[in-house]
Protein backbone atom coordinates (compact mmCIF):
# COMPACT_ATOMS: atom_id res chain seq x y z
CA UNK A 1 0.00 0.00 0.00
CA UNK A 2 1.58 3.25 -1.13
CA UNK A 3 1.17 6.66 0.46
CA UNK A 4 -2.11 8.49 0.17
CA UNK A 5 -2.78 10.94 -2.63
CA UNK A 6 -5.69 13.29 -3.21
CA UNK A 7 -7.74 12.14 -6.15
CA UNK A 8 -11.10 12.63 -7.82
CA UNK A 9 -13.41 9.60 -7.69
CA UNK A 10 -13.68 9.10 -11.45
CA UNK A 11 -9.91 9.26 -11.92
CA UNK A 12 -9.29 6.97 -8.96
CA UNK A 13 -11.40 4.29 -10.65
CA UNK A 14 -9.24 4.62 -13.75
CA UNK A 15 -5.99 4.23 -11.83
CA UNK A 16 -7.40 1.31 -9.84
CA UNK A 17 -8.28 -0.41 -13.11
CA UNK A 18 -4.68 0.01 -14.26
CA UNK A 19 -3.44 -1.46 -10.97
CA UNK A 20 -5.87 -4.36 -11.48
CA UNK A 21 -4.24 -5.16 -14.81
CA UNK A 22 -6.91 -3.71 -17.07
CA UNK A 23 -5.26 -2.83 -20.37
CA UNK A 24 -8.34 -2.43 -22.56
CA UNK A 25 -10.91 0.30 -22.14
CA UNK A 26 -13.78 1.15 -24.48
CA UNK A 27 -16.08 4.07 -23.67
CA UNK A 28 -18.19 6.98 -24.79
CA UNK A 29 -18.31 10.41 -23.14
CA UNK A 30 -21.19 11.26 -20.79
CA UNK A 31 -21.53 13.51 -17.75
CA UNK A 32 -20.83 12.92 -14.87
CA UNK A 33 -18.19 10.27 -15.66
CA UNK A 34 -16.20 11.98 -18.42
CA UNK A 35 -13.12 12.36 -16.18
CA UNK A 36 -12.86 8.57 -16.22
CA UNK A 37 -12.82 8.18 -20.02
CA UNK A 38 -10.40 11.13 -20.19
CA UNK A 39 -8.15 9.54 -17.58
CA UNK A 40 -8.10 6.29 -19.54
CA UNK A 41 -7.34 8.15 -22.79
CA UNK A 42 -4.24 9.59 -21.10
CA UNK A 43 -3.24 6.58 -19.01
CA UNK A 44 -3.72 3.57 -21.30
CA UNK A 45 -0.99 4.49 -23.80
CA UNK A 46 1.44 4.97 -20.86
CA UNK A 47 1.00 1.32 -19.85
CA UNK A 48 0.88 -0.07 -23.41
CA UNK A 49 -2.85 -0.48 -23.09
CA UNK A 50 -5.64 0.13 -25.56
CA UNK A 51 -7.98 3.09 -25.24
CA UNK A 52 -10.73 3.42 -27.80
CA UNK A 53 -13.52 5.99 -27.87
CA UNK A 54 -16.39 4.09 -29.46
CA UNK A 55 -19.07 5.56 -31.69
CA UNK A 56 -21.74 4.84 -29.06
CA UNK A 57 -22.30 3.09 -25.75
CA UNK A 58 -23.79 0.24 -27.76
CA UNK A 59 -20.57 -0.18 -29.73
CA UNK A 60 -18.43 0.24 -26.59
CA UNK A 61 -20.11 -2.60 -24.70
CA UNK A 62 -19.86 -4.84 -27.77
CA UNK A 63 -16.15 -4.05 -28.04
CA UNK A 64 -15.97 -5.13 -24.39
CA UNK A 65 -17.74 -8.37 -25.38
CA UNK A 66 -15.16 -9.01 -28.09
CA UNK A 67 -12.17 -8.12 -25.92
CA UNK A 68 -13.43 -10.10 -22.90
CA UNK A 69 -14.11 -13.06 -25.18
CA UNK A 70 -10.56 -12.75 -26.45
CA UNK A 71 -9.32 -13.08 -22.85
CA UNK A 72 -8.54 -9.49 -21.81
CA UNK A 73 -9.25 -7.72 -18.52
CA UNK A 74 -11.51 -5.03 -19.93
CA UNK A 75 -13.63 -2.15 -18.67
CA UNK A 76 -16.20 0.34 -19.88
CA UNK A 77 -17.87 3.20 -18.04
CA UNK A 78 -20.83 5.46 -18.47
CA UNK A 79 -23.68 7.13 -16.62
CA UNK A 80 -27.38 6.27 -16.46
CA UNK A 81 -28.65 7.00 -20.01
CA UNK A 82 -25.51 5.42 -21.46
CA UNK A 83 -25.88 2.38 -19.20
CA UNK A 84 -29.41 1.91 -20.57
CA UNK A 85 -27.88 1.70 -24.04
CA UNK A 86 -25.38 -0.90 -22.85
CA UNK A 87 -28.05 -3.25 -21.51
CA UNK A 88 -28.25 -5.26 -24.74
CA UNK A 89 -24.56 -5.99 -24.59
CA UNK A 90 -24.59 -6.70 -20.85
CA UNK A 91 -27.27 -9.36 -21.36
CA UNK A 92 -25.14 -11.01 -24.07
CA UNK A 93 -22.04 -10.78 -21.85
CA UNK A 94 -23.92 -12.42 -18.97
CA UNK A 95 -25.26 -15.11 -21.31
CA UNK A 96 -21.85 -15.82 -22.82
CA UNK A 97 -20.29 -15.69 -19.32
CA UNK A 98 -17.64 -13.12 -20.06
CA UNK A 99 -15.73 -11.32 -17.30
CA UNK A 100 -15.74 -7.54 -17.52
CA UNK A 101 -16.21 -4.42 -15.40
CA UNK A 102 -18.90 -1.84 -16.10
CA UNK A 103 -18.92 1.45 -14.21
CA UNK A 104 -22.15 3.43 -13.78
CA UNK A 105 -21.66 6.85 -12.19
CA UNK A 106 -25.39 7.29 -11.93
CA UNK A 107 -27.35 10.50 -12.37
CA UNK A 108 -30.97 11.55 -12.10
CA UNK A 109 -33.59 10.01 -14.38
CA UNK A 110 -35.76 8.99 -16.13
CA UNK A 111 -34.86 9.90 -19.69
CA UNK A 112 -32.17 12.51 -20.02
CA UNK A 113 -32.98 13.33 -16.38
CA UNK A 114 -30.25 15.47 -14.87
CA UNK A 115 -26.50 15.36 -14.50
CA UNK A 116 -26.64 15.45 -10.69
CA UNK A 117 -26.12 12.34 -8.51
CA UNK A 118 -28.88 9.73 -8.49
CA UNK A 119 -29.55 6.23 -7.17
CA UNK A 120 -32.51 5.56 -9.41
CA UNK A 121 -30.71 2.85 -11.43
CA UNK A 122 -30.77 0.35 -8.54
CA UNK A 123 -33.49 -1.83 -10.08
CA UNK A 124 -31.72 -1.79 -13.45
CA UNK A 125 -28.39 -2.74 -11.90
CA UNK A 126 -29.53 -5.40 -9.44
CA UNK A 127 -32.58 -7.03 -11.04
CA UNK A 128 -31.09 -7.80 -14.45
CA UNK A 129 -31.32 -4.65 -16.53
CA UNK A 130 -31.38 -6.29 -19.92
CA UNK A 131 -33.48 -9.24 -21.09
CA UNK A 132 -33.22 -12.72 -19.66
CA UNK A 133 -32.61 -14.39 -16.30
CA UNK A 134 -29.23 -13.07 -15.24
CA UNK A 135 -27.49 -11.06 -12.57
CA UNK A 136 -24.56 -8.72 -12.52
CA UNK A 137 -22.45 -8.58 -9.39
CA UNK A 138 -23.10 -5.01 -8.23
CA UNK A 139 -20.67 -3.14 -5.94
CA UNK A 140 -21.85 0.08 -4.29
CA UNK A 141 -18.88 1.93 -2.74
CA UNK A 142 -19.32 5.02 -0.56
CA UNK A 143 -15.94 6.78 -0.76
CA UNK A 144 -13.14 7.41 -3.19
CA UNK A 145 -11.02 4.82 -1.35
CA UNK A 146 -13.79 2.29 -1.64
CA UNK A 147 -14.15 3.10 -5.35
CA UNK A 148 -10.52 2.03 -5.66
CA UNK A 149 -10.94 -1.10 -3.57
CA UNK A 150 -14.15 -2.08 -5.35
CA UNK A 151 -12.61 -1.55 -8.79
CA UNK A 152 -9.77 -3.95 -8.00
CA UNK A 153 -12.23 -6.40 -6.43
CA UNK A 154 -14.52 -6.08 -9.46
CA UNK A 155 -11.86 -7.40 -11.84
CA UNK A 156 -11.07 -10.29 -9.49
CA UNK A 157 -14.73 -11.26 -9.07
CA UNK A 158 -15.39 -10.93 -12.81
CA UNK A 159 -12.60 -13.39 -13.60
CA UNK A 160 -13.46 -15.69 -10.70
CA UNK A 161 -17.07 -16.15 -11.78
CA UNK A 162 -16.87 -15.29 -15.51
CA UNK A 163 -19.53 -12.69 -14.88
CA UNK A 164 -20.04 -8.98 -15.55
CA UNK A 165 -19.42 -6.84 -12.47
CA UNK A 166 -20.96 -3.39 -12.17
CA UNK A 167 -19.64 -0.62 -10.00
CA UNK A 168 -22.73 1.45 -9.19
CA UNK A 169 -21.53 4.83 -8.03
CA UNK A 170 -23.09 8.21 -8.47
CA UNK A 171 -22.21 11.64 -9.71
CA UNK A 172 -21.14 12.81 -6.26
CA UNK A 173 -18.65 9.98 -5.67
CA UNK A 174 -17.25 10.49 -9.17
CA UNK A 175 -16.75 14.21 -8.73
CA UNK A 176 -15.49 14.45 -5.15
CA UNK A 177 -11.85 14.38 -4.10
CA UNK A 178 -10.54 12.33 -1.18
CA UNK A 179 -7.18 10.90 -0.14
CA UNK A 180 -6.68 7.40 -1.49
CA UNK A 181 -4.07 4.67 -1.40
CA UNK A 182 -3.69 2.08 -4.13
CA UNK A 183 -2.77 -1.56 -3.63
CA UNK A 184 0.38 -2.66 -5.44
CA UNK A 185 -1.53 -5.06 -7.64
CA UNK A 186 -4.62 -7.24 -7.94
CA UNK A 187 -4.85 -11.01 -8.00
CA UNK A 188 -3.52 -12.31 -11.30
CA UNK A 189 -6.12 -13.13 -13.91
CA UNK A 190 -6.69 -16.89 -14.09
CA UNK A 191 -5.94 -18.87 -17.25
CA UNK A 192 -8.73 -18.47 -19.80
CA UNK A 193 -8.63 -21.61 -21.94
CA UNK A 194 -12.09 -20.73 -23.30
CA UNK A 195 -10.98 -17.46 -24.90
CA UNK A 196 -10.90 -16.93 -28.67
CA UNK A 197 -7.21 -16.34 -29.15
CA UNK A 198 -6.99 -18.17 -32.45
CA UNK A 199 -6.51 -21.94 -32.33
CA UNK A 200 -2.70 -21.68 -31.92
CA UNK A 201 -2.41 -25.46 -32.00
CA UNK A 202 -5.58 -26.13 -30.00
CA UNK A 203 -7.69 -28.80 -31.71
CA UNK A 204 -11.24 -27.75 -30.88
CA UNK A 205 -12.33 -24.18 -31.78
CA UNK A 206 -13.50 -21.91 -28.97
CA UNK A 207 -16.87 -20.27 -29.48
CA UNK A 208 -18.09 -17.26 -27.49
CA UNK A 209 -21.84 -17.38 -27.70
CA UNK A 210 -25.13 -16.78 -25.90
CA UNK A 211 -27.35 -18.61 -28.41
CA UNK A 212 -28.80 -22.00 -27.48
CA UNK A 213 -31.31 -22.64 -30.24
CA UNK A 214 -32.60 -25.90 -28.75
CA UNK A 215 -34.90 -25.17 -25.80
CA UNK A 216 -33.56 -27.99 -23.58
CA UNK A 217 -30.01 -26.70 -24.16
CA UNK A 218 -30.98 -23.18 -23.15
CA UNK A 219 -32.73 -24.41 -20.04
CA UNK A 220 -29.63 -26.40 -19.10
CA UNK A 221 -27.52 -23.28 -19.63
CA UNK A 222 -29.91 -21.27 -17.46
CA UNK A 223 -29.72 -23.86 -14.68
CA UNK A 224 -25.94 -23.60 -14.90
CA UNK A 225 -26.12 -19.79 -14.61
CA UNK A 226 -28.50 -20.03 -11.65
CA UNK A 227 -26.15 -22.45 -9.86
CA UNK A 228 -23.35 -19.96 -10.37
CA UNK A 229 -25.50 -17.11 -9.04
CA UNK A 230 -26.32 -19.24 -6.00
CA UNK A 231 -22.62 -19.69 -5.30
CA UNK A 232 -22.05 -15.96 -5.68
CA UNK A 233 -24.93 -15.24 -3.29
CA UNK A 234 -23.37 -17.58 -0.74
CA UNK A 235 -19.82 -16.29 -1.04
CA UNK A 236 -19.83 -12.64 -1.98
CA UNK A 237 -22.26 -10.72 0.24
CA UNK A 238 -20.54 -7.64 1.58
CA UNK A 239 -21.86 -5.01 3.97
CA UNK A 240 -20.88 -2.73 6.83
CA UNK A 241 -22.72 -1.91 10.05
CA UNK A 242 -22.43 1.26 12.12
CA UNK A 243 -23.82 1.45 15.65
CA UNK A 244 -26.38 -1.26 14.98
CA UNK A 245 -25.72 -3.40 18.10
CA UNK A 246 -28.50 -1.86 20.17
CA UNK A 247 -30.25 0.10 17.40
CA UNK A 248 -34.02 0.32 17.64
CA UNK A 249 -34.21 1.96 14.22
CA UNK A 250 -31.84 0.66 11.54
CA UNK A 251 -31.28 2.99 8.60
CA UNK A 252 -30.28 1.27 5.37
CA UNK A 253 -28.36 3.25 2.77
CA UNK A 254 -25.58 2.78 0.23
CA UNK A 255 -23.15 4.94 -1.71
CA UNK A 256 -23.10 8.68 -1.12
CA UNK A 257 -26.40 8.45 0.81
CA UNK A 258 -24.73 6.22 3.39
CA UNK A 259 -22.30 9.05 4.16
CA UNK A 260 -25.22 11.41 4.81
CA UNK A 261 -27.05 8.81 6.87
CA UNK A 262 -24.00 8.06 9.00
CA UNK A 263 -23.95 11.71 10.07
CA UNK A 264 -27.68 11.51 10.80
CA UNK A 265 -27.04 8.45 13.00
CA UNK A 266 -24.50 10.42 15.03
CA UNK A 267 -26.97 13.30 15.41
CA UNK A 268 -29.62 10.88 16.68
CA UNK A 269 -27.22 9.14 19.05
CA UNK A 270 -26.20 12.54 20.46
CA UNK A 271 -29.76 13.01 21.70
CA UNK A 272 -30.03 9.46 22.99
CA UNK A 273 -31.95 7.90 20.09
CA UNK A 274 -30.79 4.32 19.41
CA UNK A 275 -30.21 4.47 15.66
CA UNK A 276 -27.76 2.55 13.47
CA UNK A 277 -26.72 2.23 9.83
CA UNK A 278 -26.65 -0.92 7.73
CA UNK A 279 -24.72 -0.31 4.50
CA UNK A 280 -24.72 -2.86 1.70
CA UNK A 281 -21.42 -2.92 -0.24
CA UNK A 282 -22.77 -5.53 -2.64
CA UNK A 283 -26.21 -4.54 -3.88
CA UNK A 284 -26.27 -7.88 -5.70
CA UNK A 285 -25.93 -10.21 -3.97
CA UNK A 286 -27.88 -8.20 -1.38
CA UNK A 287 -27.02 -9.12 2.24
CA UNK A 288 -30.58 -10.25 3.01
CA UNK A 289 -29.66 -12.59 5.88
CA UNK A 290 -27.41 -10.13 7.63
CA UNK A 291 -29.96 -7.33 7.50
CA UNK A 292 -32.74 -9.75 8.41
CA UNK A 293 -30.83 -10.79 11.52
CA UNK A 294 -31.14 -7.23 12.85
CA UNK A 295 -34.93 -7.64 12.83
CA UNK A 296 -34.51 -9.71 16.00
CA UNK A 297 -33.32 -6.64 17.92
CA UNK A 298 -34.52 -3.60 15.99
CA UNK A 299 -38.04 -2.26 16.14
CA UNK A 300 -38.02 -0.76 12.66
CA UNK A 301 -36.04 -0.08 9.50
CA UNK A 302 -35.82 2.83 7.11
CA UNK A 303 -34.29 2.83 3.64
CA UNK A 304 -32.84 6.15 2.54
CA UNK A 305 -32.15 6.53 -1.16
CA UNK A 306 -31.73 9.08 -3.94
CA UNK A 307 -34.70 7.48 -5.67
CA UNK A 308 -38.44 7.10 -5.28
CA UNK A 309 -37.85 3.80 -3.47
CA UNK A 310 -35.95 0.93 -5.06
CA UNK A 311 -33.56 -0.67 -2.55
CA UNK A 312 -36.37 -0.44 0.00
CA UNK A 313 -37.88 -3.51 -1.70
CA UNK A 314 -34.77 -5.53 -0.80
CA UNK A 315 -35.00 -4.20 2.76
CA UNK A 316 -38.60 -5.49 2.95
CA UNK A 317 -37.45 -8.85 1.55
CA UNK A 318 -34.81 -8.99 4.30
CA UNK A 319 -37.25 -8.26 7.10
CA UNK A 320 -40.09 -10.34 5.58
CA UNK A 321 -42.85 -8.39 7.27
CA UNK A 322 -41.56 -8.88 10.82
CA UNK A 323 -40.94 -5.18 11.46
CA UNK A 324 -42.11 -1.92 9.90
CA UNK A 325 -40.03 -0.66 6.98
CA UNK A 326 -40.06 3.07 6.29
CA UNK A 327 -38.68 4.88 3.29
CA UNK A 328 -37.22 8.31 2.73
CA UNK A 329 -35.94 9.39 -0.65
CA UNK A 330 -35.06 12.39 -2.75
CA UNK A 331 -35.02 12.29 -6.53
CA UNK A 332 -33.89 14.16 -9.59
CA UNK A 333 -30.36 14.80 -8.37
CA UNK A 334 -31.35 16.28 -5.00
CA UNK A 335 -29.20 15.01 -2.12
CA UNK A 336 -30.73 14.81 1.35
CA UNK A 337 -28.89 16.41 4.26
CA UNK A 338 -28.04 14.76 7.60
CA UNK A 339 -30.39 17.18 9.35
CA UNK A 340 -33.20 16.25 6.99
CA UNK A 341 -32.73 12.53 7.65
CA UNK A 342 -32.42 13.18 11.39
CA UNK A 343 -35.77 14.99 11.24
CA UNK A 344 -37.43 11.93 9.69
CA UNK A 345 -35.77 9.67 12.28
CA UNK A 346 -37.23 11.76 15.11
CA UNK A 347 -40.70 11.58 13.59
CA UNK A 348 -40.51 7.78 13.26
CA UNK A 349 -39.21 7.29 16.78
CA UNK A 350 -41.98 9.47 18.11
CA UNK A 351 -44.38 7.33 16.09
CA UNK A 352 -45.56 10.08 13.76
CA UNK A 353 -44.25 8.86 10.39
CA UNK A 354 -46.40 6.78 8.06
CA UNK A 355 -45.05 3.47 6.86
Amino acid sequence: MAEKILMKGNEAIGEAAVVAGCRHYFGYPITPQSELIEYMAKRMPQVNGVFLQAESEVAAINMVYGAAGAGARVMTSSSSPGISLKQEGISYIAGAELPCVIVNMARGGPGLGSIQPGQCDYFQATKGGGHGDYNNIVLVPNSVQELVDCTVLAFELADKYRNPVMILGDGALGQMMEPVAFPDKAAEAPAKPWATTGLKGRKEPNVINSLHIQAPDLEKHNYHLQMKYKTIKQNERRWEEYRTEDAELVLVAYGITARVVQSAVDMARAVGLKVGLFRPITAWPFPYEELGRLAKTAKGFMAVELSAGQMVEDVRLSVVGSKPVYFYGRTGGMICTPKEVFGIVKKIMLGEEEK
Binding site: V58, A70, A72, N209
Partner: protein, 250 residues
Protein backbone atom coordinates in the same frame (compact mmCIF):
# COMPACT_ATOMS: atom_id res chain seq x y z
CA UNK B 1 -1.86 -42.77 -57.18
CA UNK B 2 -5.23 -41.01 -57.05
CA UNK B 3 -5.08 -37.27 -56.67
CA UNK B 4 -7.63 -35.42 -54.53
CA UNK B 5 -9.20 -32.83 -56.82
CA UNK B 6 -11.86 -31.51 -54.47
CA UNK B 7 -11.89 -31.75 -50.70
CA UNK B 8 -13.48 -30.01 -47.77
CA UNK B 9 -11.36 -27.04 -46.69
CA UNK B 10 -9.77 -27.55 -43.31
CA UNK B 11 -11.50 -24.34 -42.19
CA UNK B 12 -14.93 -25.94 -42.63
CA UNK B 13 -16.18 -28.56 -40.18
CA UNK B 14 -17.80 -31.74 -41.46
CA UNK B 15 -21.30 -30.53 -40.57
CA UNK B 16 -24.21 -30.23 -43.06
CA UNK B 17 -25.34 -26.64 -43.65
CA UNK B 18 -28.89 -25.78 -42.55
CA UNK B 19 -29.36 -23.33 -45.42
CA UNK B 20 -32.34 -23.52 -47.80
CA UNK B 21 -31.90 -25.04 -51.29
CA UNK B 22 -30.44 -22.44 -53.63
CA UNK B 23 -29.20 -20.12 -50.87
CA UNK B 24 -25.71 -18.77 -51.54
CA UNK B 25 -24.47 -18.77 -47.94
CA UNK B 26 -23.00 -22.27 -48.36
CA UNK B 27 -20.92 -21.19 -51.35
CA UNK B 28 -19.76 -18.04 -49.59
CA UNK B 29 -18.83 -19.98 -46.42
CA UNK B 30 -16.75 -22.30 -48.56
CA UNK B 31 -14.97 -19.45 -50.35
CA UNK B 32 -14.07 -17.84 -47.01
CA UNK B 33 -12.82 -21.20 -45.70
CA UNK B 34 -10.74 -21.83 -48.83
CA UNK B 35 -9.13 -18.39 -48.56
CA UNK B 36 -8.25 -18.89 -44.90
CA UNK B 37 -6.72 -22.26 -45.74
CA UNK B 38 -4.74 -20.82 -48.65
CA UNK B 39 -3.42 -17.94 -46.54
CA UNK B 40 -2.46 -20.48 -43.85
CA UNK B 41 -3.99 -18.38 -41.08
CA UNK B 42 -6.59 -20.80 -39.67
CA UNK B 43 -4.55 -21.10 -36.49
CA UNK B 44 -4.91 -17.37 -35.74
CA UNK B 45 -8.30 -16.57 -37.22
CA UNK B 46 -11.26 -15.37 -35.17
CA UNK B 47 -14.55 -15.03 -37.02
CA UNK B 48 -17.41 -12.92 -35.70
CA UNK B 49 -20.84 -14.15 -36.69
CA UNK B 50 -24.04 -12.14 -37.11
CA UNK B 51 -27.70 -12.46 -36.28
CA UNK B 52 -29.57 -13.59 -39.35
CA UNK B 53 -29.57 -16.74 -41.47
CA UNK B 54 -25.85 -17.25 -40.87
CA UNK B 55 -26.23 -17.00 -37.09
CA UNK B 56 -25.12 -20.62 -36.75
CA UNK B 57 -22.00 -20.16 -38.91
CA UNK B 58 -19.90 -20.84 -35.81
CA UNK B 59 -21.04 -24.46 -36.16
CA UNK B 60 -19.57 -24.62 -39.67
CA UNK B 61 -16.24 -22.79 -39.47
CA UNK B 62 -13.34 -24.71 -38.00
CA UNK B 63 -11.59 -21.92 -36.13
CA UNK B 64 -12.34 -19.70 -33.13
CA UNK B 65 -15.50 -17.63 -33.40
CA UNK B 66 -17.65 -15.21 -31.44
CA UNK B 67 -21.38 -14.80 -31.93
CA UNK B 68 -22.31 -11.11 -31.86
CA UNK B 69 -25.58 -9.33 -31.14
CA UNK B 70 -27.55 -8.13 -34.18
CA UNK B 71 -25.47 -5.61 -36.11
CA UNK B 72 -22.66 -5.43 -33.57
CA UNK B 73 -20.17 -7.76 -35.26
CA UNK B 74 -17.79 -4.94 -36.33
CA UNK B 75 -17.63 -3.68 -32.72
CA UNK B 76 -17.06 -7.21 -31.38
CA UNK B 77 -14.41 -7.80 -34.05
CA UNK B 78 -12.77 -4.51 -33.03
CA UNK B 79 -12.58 -5.75 -29.44
CA UNK B 80 -10.97 -9.02 -30.51
CA UNK B 81 -8.50 -7.36 -32.89
CA UNK B 82 -7.42 -4.77 -30.31
CA UNK B 83 -6.60 -7.54 -27.84
CA UNK B 84 -4.83 -9.76 -30.38
CA UNK B 85 -3.50 -7.56 -33.21
CA UNK B 86 -1.83 -10.62 -34.76
CA UNK B 87 -5.12 -12.46 -35.12
CA UNK B 88 -6.92 -12.47 -38.44
CA UNK B 89 -10.36 -11.16 -37.53
CA UNK B 90 -13.39 -10.97 -39.77
CA UNK B 91 -17.10 -10.31 -39.47
CA UNK B 92 -19.64 -12.17 -41.57
CA UNK B 93 -22.88 -10.21 -41.85
CA UNK B 94 -26.14 -10.05 -43.76
CA UNK B 95 -27.90 -6.96 -45.09
CA UNK B 96 -30.32 -6.43 -42.20
CA UNK B 97 -27.48 -6.92 -39.74
CA UNK B 98 -24.95 -4.67 -41.47
CA UNK B 99 -26.95 -2.10 -43.42
CA UNK B 100 -29.82 -1.52 -40.98
CA UNK B 101 -29.33 -2.16 -37.26
CA UNK B 102 -25.53 -2.26 -37.53
CA UNK B 103 -25.05 0.76 -39.78
CA UNK B 104 -23.21 2.79 -37.13
CA UNK B 105 -20.87 -0.08 -36.24
CA UNK B 106 -19.83 -0.83 -39.84
CA UNK B 107 -19.39 2.84 -40.77
CA UNK B 108 -17.20 3.56 -37.75
CA UNK B 109 -15.15 0.36 -38.08
CA UNK B 110 -14.43 1.46 -41.65
CA UNK B 111 -13.78 5.06 -40.62
CA UNK B 112 -11.27 3.95 -37.98
CA UNK B 113 -9.52 1.85 -40.58
CA UNK B 114 -10.03 -1.06 -38.23
CA UNK B 115 -7.75 -3.85 -39.41
CA UNK B 116 -10.53 -6.35 -39.89
CA UNK B 117 -12.25 -7.89 -42.89
CA UNK B 118 -16.00 -7.94 -43.46
CA UNK B 119 -17.86 -10.38 -45.66
CA UNK B 120 -21.23 -8.79 -46.37
CA UNK B 121 -23.94 -11.00 -47.83
CA UNK B 122 -26.64 -8.95 -49.54
CA UNK B 123 -29.80 -10.85 -50.54
CA UNK B 124 -32.13 -7.85 -50.40
CA UNK B 125 -34.37 -9.33 -47.71
CA UNK B 126 -34.52 -10.50 -44.08
CA UNK B 127 -34.21 -14.26 -44.43
CA UNK B 128 -34.24 -15.76 -40.96
CA UNK B 129 -37.25 -13.82 -39.69
CA UNK B 130 -39.28 -14.81 -42.74
CA UNK B 131 -38.88 -12.35 -45.59
CA UNK B 132 -39.27 -8.81 -44.30
CA UNK B 133 -38.06 -5.69 -46.11
CA UNK B 134 -34.34 -4.97 -45.82
CA UNK B 135 -32.52 -1.66 -46.28
CA UNK B 136 -31.26 -3.29 -49.49
CA UNK B 137 -34.68 -4.46 -50.79
CA UNK B 138 -35.26 -3.06 -54.27
CA UNK B 139 -37.92 -0.46 -55.21
CA UNK B 140 -41.35 -2.11 -55.49
CA UNK B 141 -39.96 -5.40 -54.11
CA UNK B 142 -42.73 -7.28 -52.34
CA UNK B 143 -41.83 -8.55 -48.88
CA UNK B 144 -43.90 -9.44 -45.82
CA UNK B 145 -43.48 -5.89 -44.47
CA UNK B 146 -43.81 -4.24 -47.88
CA UNK B 147 -46.79 -6.26 -49.13
CA UNK B 148 -47.61 -3.58 -51.72
CA UNK B 149 -43.98 -3.31 -52.78
CA UNK B 150 -41.19 -1.12 -51.38
CA UNK B 151 -42.51 2.42 -51.69
CA UNK B 152 -39.47 4.64 -52.09
CA UNK B 153 -41.47 7.80 -51.36
CA UNK B 154 -42.04 6.39 -47.87
CA UNK B 155 -38.90 4.38 -47.07
CA UNK B 156 -36.37 5.70 -49.55
CA UNK B 157 -34.09 3.96 -51.99
CA UNK B 158 -32.03 0.91 -50.96
CA UNK B 159 -28.63 1.58 -49.43
CA UNK B 160 -25.58 0.93 -51.58
CA UNK B 161 -23.11 -0.10 -48.90
CA UNK B 162 -19.94 -0.30 -51.01
CA UNK B 163 -20.53 3.11 -52.54
CA UNK B 164 -21.30 4.62 -49.12
CA UNK B 165 -18.21 3.16 -47.42
CA UNK B 166 -16.00 4.21 -50.35
CA UNK B 167 -16.14 7.78 -49.07
CA UNK B 168 -14.23 6.78 -45.91
CA UNK B 169 -10.44 6.98 -45.88
CA UNK B 170 -10.07 4.10 -43.44
CA UNK B 171 -11.69 1.63 -45.86
CA UNK B 172 -8.82 0.38 -48.02
CA UNK B 173 -10.42 -2.38 -50.07
CA UNK B 174 -14.04 -2.44 -51.18
CA UNK B 175 -15.50 -4.81 -53.74
CA UNK B 176 -18.90 -6.12 -54.76
CA UNK B 177 -19.05 -9.64 -56.18
CA UNK B 178 -21.58 -12.38 -56.86
CA UNK B 179 -21.53 -16.17 -56.88
CA UNK B 180 -24.16 -16.69 -59.58
CA UNK B 181 -21.83 -18.57 -61.96
CA UNK B 182 -18.38 -20.21 -61.85
CA UNK B 183 -16.59 -17.21 -63.35
CA UNK B 184 -18.07 -14.86 -60.78
CA UNK B 185 -17.29 -17.37 -58.00
CA UNK B 186 -13.63 -17.22 -58.99
CA UNK B 187 -13.75 -13.42 -58.91
CA UNK B 188 -15.54 -13.50 -55.56
CA UNK B 189 -12.87 -15.74 -54.08
CA UNK B 190 -10.12 -13.48 -55.41
CA UNK B 191 -11.82 -10.46 -53.84
CA UNK B 192 -12.26 -12.20 -50.48
CA UNK B 193 -8.61 -13.21 -50.58
CA UNK B 194 -7.56 -9.67 -51.37
CA UNK B 195 -9.67 -8.38 -48.47
CA UNK B 196 -7.85 -10.69 -46.05
CA UNK B 197 -4.47 -9.78 -47.55
CA UNK B 198 -5.22 -6.11 -46.93
CA UNK B 199 -5.77 -6.98 -43.25
CA UNK B 200 -2.60 -9.07 -43.13
CA UNK B 201 -0.66 -6.10 -44.55
CA UNK B 202 -2.07 -3.92 -41.76
CA UNK B 203 -3.44 -1.39 -44.24
CA UNK B 204 -6.92 -0.91 -42.81
CA UNK B 205 -10.51 -1.97 -43.24
CA UNK B 206 -11.63 -4.23 -46.10
CA UNK B 207 -15.09 -5.33 -47.12
CA UNK B 208 -16.46 -7.63 -49.82
CA UNK B 209 -20.18 -7.44 -50.56
CA UNK B 210 -21.50 -10.65 -52.05
CA UNK B 211 -24.85 -10.48 -53.85
CA UNK B 212 -26.84 -13.51 -52.87
CA UNK B 213 -30.19 -15.16 -53.50
CA UNK B 214 -33.01 -16.01 -51.10
CA UNK B 215 -35.24 -18.38 -53.11
CA UNK B 216 -37.39 -19.24 -50.08
CA UNK B 217 -38.36 -15.69 -49.18
CA UNK B 218 -38.33 -14.39 -52.73
CA UNK B 219 -40.84 -17.18 -53.50
CA UNK B 220 -38.84 -18.62 -56.40
CA UNK B 221 -37.01 -21.75 -57.46
CA UNK B 222 -33.23 -21.56 -57.00
CA UNK B 223 -32.79 -21.10 -60.74
CA UNK B 224 -35.44 -18.37 -60.97
CA UNK B 225 -33.78 -16.64 -58.04
CA UNK B 226 -30.43 -16.46 -59.83
CA UNK B 227 -32.22 -14.98 -62.84
CA UNK B 228 -34.04 -12.42 -60.64
CA UNK B 229 -30.78 -11.40 -59.01
CA UNK B 230 -29.06 -10.93 -62.37
CA UNK B 231 -31.97 -8.99 -63.83
CA UNK B 232 -32.88 -6.82 -60.83
CA UNK B 233 -30.04 -6.65 -58.31
CA UNK B 234 -26.99 -6.41 -60.55
CA UNK B 235 -28.10 -3.23 -62.37
CA UNK B 236 -28.70 -1.45 -59.05
CA UNK B 237 -25.73 -3.04 -57.26
CA UNK B 238 -23.03 -3.11 -59.96
CA UNK B 239 -20.23 -5.63 -59.44
CA UNK B 240 -16.68 -4.37 -59.27
CA UNK B 241 -13.81 -3.14 -57.18
CA UNK B 242 -14.61 0.24 -55.65
CA UNK B 243 -11.38 0.80 -53.82
CA UNK B 244 -8.01 -0.87 -53.47
CA UNK B 245 -4.97 0.11 -51.42
CA UNK B 246 -3.38 1.23 -54.66
CA UNK B 247 -6.27 3.67 -55.05
CA UNK B 248 -7.61 2.13 -58.25
CA UNK B 249 -11.37 2.66 -58.50
CA UNK B 250 -13.15 0.14 -60.71
Amino acid sequence: MAEIAFARPESLRDVPFHYCPGCHHGIIHRLVAEVIDELKVRDRTVGVMPVGCSVLAYDYFNFDTQEAAHGRAPAVATGVKRVHPDNVVFSYQGDGDLASIGCAEIVHAAARGEKITTVFVNNAIYGMTGGQMAPTSLPDQVTTTSPYGRKVESVGMPIKVCEMLSTLDGAKYIARVAVNNPANMAKAKAAIKKAFEVQLSGLGFAIVEVLSTCPTNWGMSPLEAVGWMEKNMMPYYPLGVFKTPEGVAK
